[in-house]
Amino acid sequence: MSEENNRILKISILRFDPNDPEDFPHMQTFEVEEADGMTLFIALNEIREHHDNSLKFDFVCRAGICGSCSMLVNGTPTLACKTLTSKLGVNISLAPLPLFELIGDLSIYTGKWMRYLNQHLETWIHNKEKELNVDKLEERMEPELADEIYELERCIECGCCVAGCGTIQMRQEFVGAVGLNKIARYHLDPRDMRSDEEFYKLIGNEDGVFGCMTLLGCEDVCPKSLPLQTKIAYLRRMMIKTSMK
């Protein structure tokens, strides 16, 4: 789909294969002719197919809903699949998200981090005492409440908020906005029977809600525009109240 006057993009990518003892981190620049509606997904696939098929990166849905393709685009954590090259200059730099285990080049293992987080914060509905009879009518829920829960559940565990977080640079065990948002989601849900005290045990410390320095990096970069700071502030107030009980 070559056309006159298309821009030639210079895409510089941080390359490194941790499986190769000879390799060291370095930047490599590829030139790609821009096409109408081109996203970084399209550009990276073109590079892999035509320039260097060893280039490692992750895409799954390529539609901004699975959270696989988060990376640093010109230094900012974001989803590469929904980044249109037309919104960027000719020189584009790409690097893997920091803090997560590197698989190679732009590919990182967010899954391992998120698994630990989910297990640590027990991110599931705690309602063991309730017997489930699947034949019976479901329990009712106020429509507004269901909508509110969904608002928080829209998180896709992409890790952008973690990469954009100042606290986590100093405190590796910090659960990040992703973790705190999850607690806010379960706290809101009447199906989860955990008490405030139980939630306090999970996040009432410096690795949890009291570690946050309110730098707002998480909310700035969240690709789903989740109300992260409002929720963290709410949790903090609630946790303080709980600790004073």
């Binding site: 799954v60 849905c61 809903i65 698994r115 599931w124 699947v134 896709i156």
Partner: protein, 662 residues
């Protein structure tokens, strides 16, 4: 070499795989889930629109029940479905959705009182009942008599998948992420697990298991333009096929979704039309009522896709550098509705098209979307020919969709089938039948075979470029095995795909020789496997000389029940074959609750089966007699086609609904 033993190996970490894992684990068996990506990244997350379950809570769903859902599903399938399986499914869908509600899915709820809606381009007021307030609501989808599609905004798949993965966390299910099964281990007609490759460090591991489940989703990526995630490459179907023992069913049955955006092929949910969106042509003219006066934009997906293609062929498409397209207009729904109920659609429009769907029309065209075919199973989810191998979800041909799936029935199938198959597997694991009787030497041999294949790929010089072969395959599938099919094109497709398959033996992994994380190596072996899957689709389509559901032959317009009321079964018996072995399995009319008839869309082009009428008469007689005696709908159904006994005991109960059985 590493061997890991487990009771139950599950390949695939999407909704179906996770639901099986939970079921098996809760029955006390060990489980390991192999997953290409972290489970929450699975393609299940992409399902926006909803899950069909006949709850009948919302006003427009009133009167819905299993019978209506069943009838819609059978008609939708164009009588290709297994009716017993469809019955099992419709009976259990309400149970599955209620279970998910308990596990945390924040289903959108009924709000009592008046609300505005758009039906057939007109604003109408719907008054929801007081007694339904707070129960799970539903929206309209194509091919259904009642509003039955339950949803969470338009992130239904996301919220279901997250609830399911969180449940797996609660159950402490072992997840092996970024692991890809590349072959099945089997001996004497019995499956014993899989050889898997670690995609991060390249290590090969043999998983030896009593039961193995393939839940790897569909194979849409054999087409160049698909709504499927990039990981939906049919590798699960391919490794089953490569055993030479397991079979695939109805591989030619490929669904095209009417409204994927142009050019990238990302889906906009059927909820857009369900909620009142319209299809328009280059003149801004609403054309669907001309073709389908009754169901209009909400005829079943295969019908709408074909009508759109027909209309484009008449020159009514909008020209673009990516080919012709049509418009989807949802502006009529209003900004508030779009921002609340169709937010993903709005984001997709903004991010990928730079338009605002509350103001602008969305460029759409039909695009490959769903694979009705897959690993052929019995109603238990077990392969008919390879014992110990199970499959469910889109990966399987459990066959409740026949030749066309209704929107909202696929996410529903993932959890319902997962729920049932998990129980059948557990029964099998509880029996002595499931003992592992394979010698370690055989397992080592299976590992070595795969190691040698990978080694050969990496050593090859002056060979073929896997990308070139794969792109050509994708184009052939799109151009010649697409929405409308004909004998000449299909023959060309089969010939060329066979050539590509032969060439694929000589793939060279260019530039990148690493045994560890190596996308070039991955592309090489997957391309070899994808070509076999593509051949099953194309060859099956060439041989099926009729039009049924999504399979539409321009040279055979009739649905030919007399000759083609059967499932296509493909296998790959020897490595030397360049074409699959094809056989057929009759669909027995004498057992049908709804004998073949007219679907209710377009013109009736059916070559009727001689047994249809006879069976219809039997059905009518039984119904009439029992009705006269005042029998319940359950008794009548049971007399026509008993299925309850096939279900696990815990799922046999009657579903409660407002005003029914409460």
């Amino acid at each position: 070499m590493k061997i890991i033993y487990t009771d139950s190996l599950i390949i695939g970490g999407g909704l179906a795989g996770l639901r099986v894992a939970t079921g098996v684990k809760e029955r006390g068996h060990d489980v390991i889930v192999l997953t290409l990506v972290p489970p929450k990244r699975s393609h299940s997350a992409a399902a926006q629109g909803g899950m069909q379950a006949s709850l009948a809570n919302s006003k427009m769903g009133e009167g819905d029940n299993e019978d209506v859902h069943f009838s819609d599903t059978i008609k939708g399938s164009d009588w290709g479905a297994d009716q017993e399986v469809a019955r099992m499914f419709t009976h259990c869908a309400p149970k599955a959705i209620r279970e998910l509600a308990q596990w945390g899915v924040p289903w959108t709820r009924v709000q009592r009182g008046d609300r505005q809606s758009v039906i057939n381009a007109k604003k109408v007021t719907i008054t929801e009942r007081d007694e339904a307030h707070g129960l799970i609501t539903a929206r309209d989808f194509g091919g259904t008599k009642k509003w039955r599609t339950c949803y969470t905004s338009d992130g239904t798949g996301h919220s279901m998948l997250y609830a399911m993965d969180n449940k797996a966390h609660e159950d402490k299910i072992e997840m092996h992420e970024r692991l890809e099964a590349i072959s099945l281990i089997h001996e004497n007609g019995r499956c014993y697990g899989a050889v898997a490759r670690n995609l991060m460090n390249g290590e090969l591991v043999a998983y030896v298991s009593k039961a193995t489940t393939i839940a790897t989703g569909g194979y849409g990526r054999i087409y160049s333009v698909s709504t499927n995630a990039v990981i939906c490459q049919g590798i699960g179907q391919a490794i089953a096929l490569e055993t030479g023992v397991a079979t695939l069913g109805n591989m030619e049955a490929i669904q095209f979704h009417p409204t994927a955006i142009v050019p990238v092929g990302i889906l906009t949910t059927e909820g857009c039309r369900g909620d009142g969106g319209l299809l328009l042509d280059k003149d801004g003219y609403r054309f669907m009522p001309d073709y389908e006066p009754e169901k209009k934009e909400l005829a079943s997906r295969d019908v709408v896709s074909r009508r759109m293609t027909e209309h484009i062929r008449k020159g009514k498409g909008v020209k673009s550098r990516y080919g012709d397209h049509l418009w989807l207009d949802i502006t009529i729904l209003g900004r508030a509705h779009i921002e609340k109920n169709l937010r993903e659609v709005k984001e997709i429009c903004e991010n990928f098209l730079g338009i605002d769907p509350a103001v602008d029309w969305i460029p759409v065209r039909p695009t490959q979307h769903y694979s009705m075919g897959g690993i052929r199973t019995k109603f238990t989810g077990e392969s008919q020919t390879l014992k110990g191998l199970y499959s469910c979800g889109e990966a399987a041909c459990w066959d409740m969709h026949g030749f066309n799936r209704l929107g909202g029935n696929s996410v529903s199938e993932t959890v319902v089938a997962g729920m049932l198959v998990g129980e059948y597997i557990s029964d099998y694991l509880d029996s002595d039948d499931s003992d592992i009787k394979i010698n370690t030497a055989v397992v080592e041999e299976a590992l070595k075979t795969e190691a040698d294949k990978l080694e050969a790929l990496l050593k090859k010089e002056n060979g073929e470029d896997a990308y070139i072969l794969r792109r050509r395959m994708e184009e052939i599938m799109m151009e010649k095995v697409g929405i409308f099919r004909n004998g000449d094109d299909l023959q060309d497709a089969v010939n060329e795909l066979s050539e590509l398959l032969k060439r694929s033996e000589n793939i060279e992994v260019f530039r990148s020789k690493s045994k560890a994380a190596n996308p070039a190596l991955v592309n090489a072996y997957r391309t070899q496997k994808m070509l076999k899957v593509a051949l099953c689709v194309a060859y099956g389509a060439l041989l099926r000389k009729e039009s049924r559901g999504a399979h539409s032959r321009e040279d055979y317009l009739e649905r030919d029940d007399e000759n083609w009321l059967k499932r296509t079964i493909t296998s790959w018996e020897s490595k030397e074959q360049v074409l699959p072995t094809v056989s057929y399995e009759d669909i027995d009319i004498s057992k049908m609750e709804i004998p073949p008839g007219f679907r209710g869309y377009g013109k009736d082009l059916t070559n009727t089966h001689p047994d249809s009428q006879e069976r219809q008469k039997i059905v009518d007689d039984i119904t009439e007699k029992l009705e006269a005696k005042g029998a319940s709908r359950f008794d009548i159904q049971n007399a026509l086609m008993p299925f309850i006994d096939k279900l696990p005991k815990k799922y046999q109960g009657i579903n409660e609904r407002l005003g029914e059985n409460v």
